[in-house]
């Protein structure tokens, strides 16, 4: 049975998120991203009230468990765009193959330039891939899974907060291209954000999220050791 304490933490998370969501609707500033604001607020509350993370986690895990079913639900926008998508699948596949290889190699390169050791660089490499796959890639290459999880979330929030203005700044105006770019760079957190602005962008983002997760899982064992060897 679910404990009162766990219920309290769930209510707190939903409440904080509700307020952050309201703030965003009211003021419409990109920095007021509800995910970012909620994480910072709850971290603040936990630290201030001296609550250890594992106690919060008891409640938080119930919400995390719902992620699986929420990802399944993304199948609906994917289906709604299926007619368009089928026609463009070869192009999308080609671009995701390129962008996934680039993402892995470029991240290792940047991390090494920023002074990271090779096991840290390796763990950051799958940061643009959704959490379960990123953790799996890092584990299979003997990296640090916790570091991958942190980098994945930072990347997602970065995309959710700055992604939409950045896309406009880079003159990426086609809804399909915007979706693909968001899904390829900022996985599920970016997809959740862009789905709110349009379902078509969301569907292409979900497609890019799936394809880049699969591609990265296939490419990582080849690309990561090769780039690390080249940099050493």
């Amino acid at each position: 049975m679910i404990s009162i304490q766990a219920l309290m933490f769930i209510a707190m998370t939903v409440g904080v998120f509700g307020v952050s969501h309201f703030l965003q609707v009211r003021f419409r500033h990109p920095l007021l991203n509800p995910v970012l604001i909620s994480i910072l607020t709850i971290c603040g509350i936990l630290v201030y009230m001296d609550i250890p993370f594992h106690e919060y986690r008891e409640g938080g895990d119930y919400l995390t468990d719902l992620l699986g079913i929420a990802v399944v639900a993304l199948g609906v926008p994917l289906y709604q765009q299926a007619k368009d998508i089928r026609r463009e699948l070869p192009g999308v596949l080609l671009i995701i193959t390129l962008s996934s290889s680039f993402a892995l190699a470029n991240t290792i390169f940047l991390a090494t330039m920023a002074g990271a050791s090779s096991d840290v660089a390796l763990s950051l490499a799958p940061k643009s891939v959704t959490t379960p796959i990123a953790v799996m890639i890092t584990t299979s290459l003997d990296g640090i899974p916790a570091l991958s999880a942190i980098a994945v979330i930072f990347t997602g929030i970065m995309g959710a907060v700055f992604g939409i203005p950045l896309l406009s700044l880079m003159r990426i105006t086609s809804p399909k291209a915007r979706g693909i770019a968001m899904g390829a760079a900022s996985h599920a957190i970016g997809t959740a954000r862009i789905t709110q602005s349009s379902l078509q962008e969301g569907a292409y983002s979900a497609l890019a999220l799936v394809l880049s997760a699969s591609m990265s899982a296939l490419l990582a064992p080849i690309v990561i050791p090769a780039v690390l060897g080249w940099l050493a």
Partner: protein, 124 residues
């Protein structure tokens, strides 16, 4: 009249929750078969899209729950993010590399994928 409406809403919710969970379970099952090459949730999403496309499932059966979940999905990332508290030392030791890769790297990937696709779209 009102009771019929309420029953309809409840039925729509029940059917969507059941279908989504069935897809997730089937996805988890295939994931084990595929040696965890892809997580169950992603396989479940592809399965749901496939079942909708082939007409086995009607959109009206899943719309209620799926729409709600997609709309509020962001909330579910909050506890994962709060998990950072458990790894503050790892974060502090690698802060510079993390910030550089997440800010610069993510922007570069976004630009590459977006520009390439837009170029391809305009060419064809």
């Amino acid at each position: 009249m009102k009771i019929a409406f309420v029953c309809q809403r409840v039925a729509a919710w029940l059917s969507s929750v059941l279908i989504l969970m069935a897809c997730l379970w089937a996805g988890e099952f295939f994931s084990v078969l595929l040696n965890h090459l892809l997580p169950g949730s992603i396989l479940g999403m592809l399965l749901l899209a496939g079942l909708l496309a082939s007409g086995v499932i009607r959109l009206s059966w899943v719309e209620a729950g799926a729409g709600f979940l997609v709309r509020w999905m962001s909330l579910l990332f909050v506890p994962v993010g709060v998990g950072v508290l458990d790894h503050l030392d790892l974060l502090a030791n690698n802060l510079f590399a993390i910030v550089v890769t997440c800010v610069v790297g993510t922007t570069m990937i976004m630009a590459l994928a977006g520009w390439l696709f837009q170029w391809l779209e305009r060419k064809s």
